[in-house]
C-alpha cells in the first residue's frame, strides 16, 4: 500500500498559466470587448492579452476536448482555460491570430460569444444523462433553448447580460436560484412504493430516516415489511429514492418544467436577488421541449422591449411590478405563485403600490 498517493489536491495553478498571464498577474488595468466573444485585457506594463471565448456543450467527450487542445496548440502555445459558465477561452498575445482561432472554432462548430450583454452558456445539471432524481433532461433542453437563443449568444443586443441556468429537480445541484431565468424540473406527485422490491432491496429504518419532512412511516401491516408515504407532507426531493430504489418519484405524465425569473448574483446597482416563480408548469416534452423554448423566448423578447438600459431581468420586473410582468408575458397567475412555505409573508404586498 505504500505507493498509494492520496490527499495531494489539484496541481498548483501556476504550472498552467501562459507567460503573459504570469508576467502580468495582478497588474491588469482595463479591458475592452473588441467584438462579441473577443476580449482584450491591457496591463499596466502595456502588455495585452486577447481572449477568444467559445461555447461548448457542458457534456462533452475526450474527442472534443482534444480538438480544443489542437486549437490551443496551434495558436496559443498549448494553453487554454474554461470559464465558470462552461465556455472555453483561447488566450493570445498576437492580435493577428484571433481570426485563425475564430476560424478553427467555426470549423469545429464552437460558436464565439458569451461576452457583455449576451445570453451566455446555460449552466446546468446532469438530467437523464446521469442523475437518479431528475424530472427532466438537462442537456437536451439546454440545446433546444440555446438553438433558439443562438443569436443572443454571439451579440450584445440586450439591455444587460442574461444568465440562464437549469436544474433538473428541486435539489438544484446547479444552484440556479439566482439566475435571470432558471429552468427547473419539477415532480408533482409523491413516490410510488413498490412493496415487493422494497422488501428485497431496502432497509426500512434508514429509508424512513432519509425523509427530510418525516413523511415516511412503516407500513401499518407489519407482515408487508414496507413503508407508506404521507403524500401531503412529501415535497418530491427524491432523497428516499436515493436511499431506496423501490421508491421512484417519477411520473412520466405529471413531471415537467417550471420557470423562475429575475435572479442575479452581481451587486451592480441592486443587491443580489433570488429568481421567483414565473411559470409553475410546462409539459415535459422531449426531444425539443417547444413549450419551454417558446416561454423563454417570450420572456426575453418582452424584457428586451421593456427594460431600461443596463437593467437586468429582475430589475426590470421589480420596476414594472410582477402583476405587469405576468400581463406583458401572458402568463396566468395561479395559486402556485403565492408562497406558502417557510418565509411566505415576506412576499405579500402590504402597500398600495400596485397597478391595475
Amino acid at each position: 500500500m505504500a505507493e498509494r498517493i492520496t490527499d495531494i489536491g489539484p496541481p498548483k495553478y501556476d504550472k498552467f498559466l501562459p507567460p503573459v498571464i504570469k508576467e502580468n498577474y495582478g497588474k491588469w488595468k482595463y479591458h475592452e470587448i473588441l467584438e462579441p466573444g473577443v476580449l482584450m485585457h491591457v496591463s499596466e506594463s502595456g502588455a495585452k492579452v486577447y481572449s477568444v471565448r467559445g461555447g461548448a456543450a457542458r457534456l462533452v467527450t475526450t474527442d472534443l476536448v482534444k480538438e480544443l487542445c489542437d486549437i490551443a496548440d496551434k495558436f496559443c502555445d498549448g494553453y487554454l482555460r474554461f470559464t465558470s459558465r462552461n465556455n472555453v477561452e483561447f488566450l493570445l498575445t498576437d492580435q493577428g491570430k484571433i481570426a485563425g482561432v475564430k476560424d478553427a472554432c467555426k470549423k469545429m462548430g464552437v460558436p464565439i460569444g458569451a461576452t457583455g450583454h449576451s445570453v451566455s452558456n446555460i449552466v446546468h445539471t446532469q438530467g437523464w444523462v446521469h442523475c437518479h432524481t431528475p424530472a427532466i433532461d438537462a442537456s437536451g433542453i439546454v440545446k433546444s433553448v440555446m438553438d433558439d437563443l443562438f443569436d443572443y449568444f454571439g451579440s450584445h443586443k440586450l439591455p444587460a447580460q442574461v444568465r440562464i441556468a437549469l436544474a433538473c429537480c428541486l435539489n438544484m445541484c446547479g444552484a440556479v436560484h439566482c439566475s435571470d431565468i432558471a429552468i427547473l424540473g419539477i415532480h408533482r406527485t409523491a413516490p410510488k412504493v413498490n412493496h415487493d422490491r422494497l422488501r428485497h432491496l431496502c432497509e426500512i429504518p434508514t429509508t424512513i430516516a432519509a425523509c427530510p419532512t418525516g413523511a415516511i412511516r412503516p407500513h401499518p401491516d407489519k407482515s408487508i415489511k414496507s413503508v407508506v408515504v404521507n403524500e401531503e407532507r412529501c415535497m418530491y426531493c427524491g432523497n428516499c429514492y436515493t436511499m431506496c430504489p423501490a421508491l421512484p418519484v417519477f411520473d412520466s405524465e405529471k413531471g415537467g418544467v417550471a420557470l423562475l425569473v429575475g435572479g442575479k448574483v452581481s451587486n451592480s446597482k441592486t443587491p443580489p436577488m433570488f429568481s421567483k416563480l414565473a411559470v409553475p408548469y410546462l409539459p415535459n416534452n422531449p426531444p425539443r421541449w417547444p413549450e419551454v423554448v417558446q416561454a423563454i423566448r417570450k420572456i426575453i423578447t418582452k424584457y428586451a422591449e421593456g427594460a431600461n438600459k443596463w437593467e437586468r431581468v429582475g430589475e426590470w420586473v421589480e420596476r414594472i411590478g410582477w402583476e405587469k410582468f405576468f400581463e406583458v408575458c401572458d402568463i396566468p397567475f395561479t395559486f402556485q405563485h403565492i408562497d406558502d412555505y417557510r418565509w411566505a409573508y415576506d412576499t405579500y404586498r402590504t402597500s398600495m403600490h400596485f397597478k391595475f
Partner: protein, 80 residues
C-alpha cells in the same frame, strides 16, 4: 478512562456493526458516542481511528443524502 488506539478502533467498529441495517451513523455521531462513554478521549484520536477503519476496508463511507460510516455491504441499487 481514555481508550488506547486499538481499543478505540474496536469500540467504534462495534458501534457501527451494531447499528448496521438499523441506523446510519455519521462520523460525528461516532465521536459524540465515544466522548460520552469516555469523556477524556482525545477528539483527534477518534478522527484517526475512523480513518484507520476506512483505510483497512473494515468500514466504508457511504452517501445516501448524507455521508455515513458503515460496514461494507451490497447496496440495493447494485442489485438487479
Amino acid at each position: 478512562m481514555a481508550l488506547s488506539k486499538e481499543e478505540l478502533v474496536e469500540f467504534i467498529y462495534d458501534m457501527v456493526l451494531k447499528a448496521q441495517g438499523k441506523k446510519q451513523l455519521k462520523a460525528m455521531d461516532l465521536q459524540k458516542a465515544v466522548l460520552k462513554a469516555h469523556p477524556d478521549q482525545d477528539k483527534t484520536m477518534v478522527k484517526f481511528a475512523i480513518k484507520e477503519l476506512i483505510d483497512t476496508g473494515r468500514c466504508v463511507y457511504t452517501y445516501f443524502g448524507g455521508s455515513f460510516v458503515e460496514i461494507p455491504h451490497e447496496e440495493g441499487a447494485a442489485k438487479h
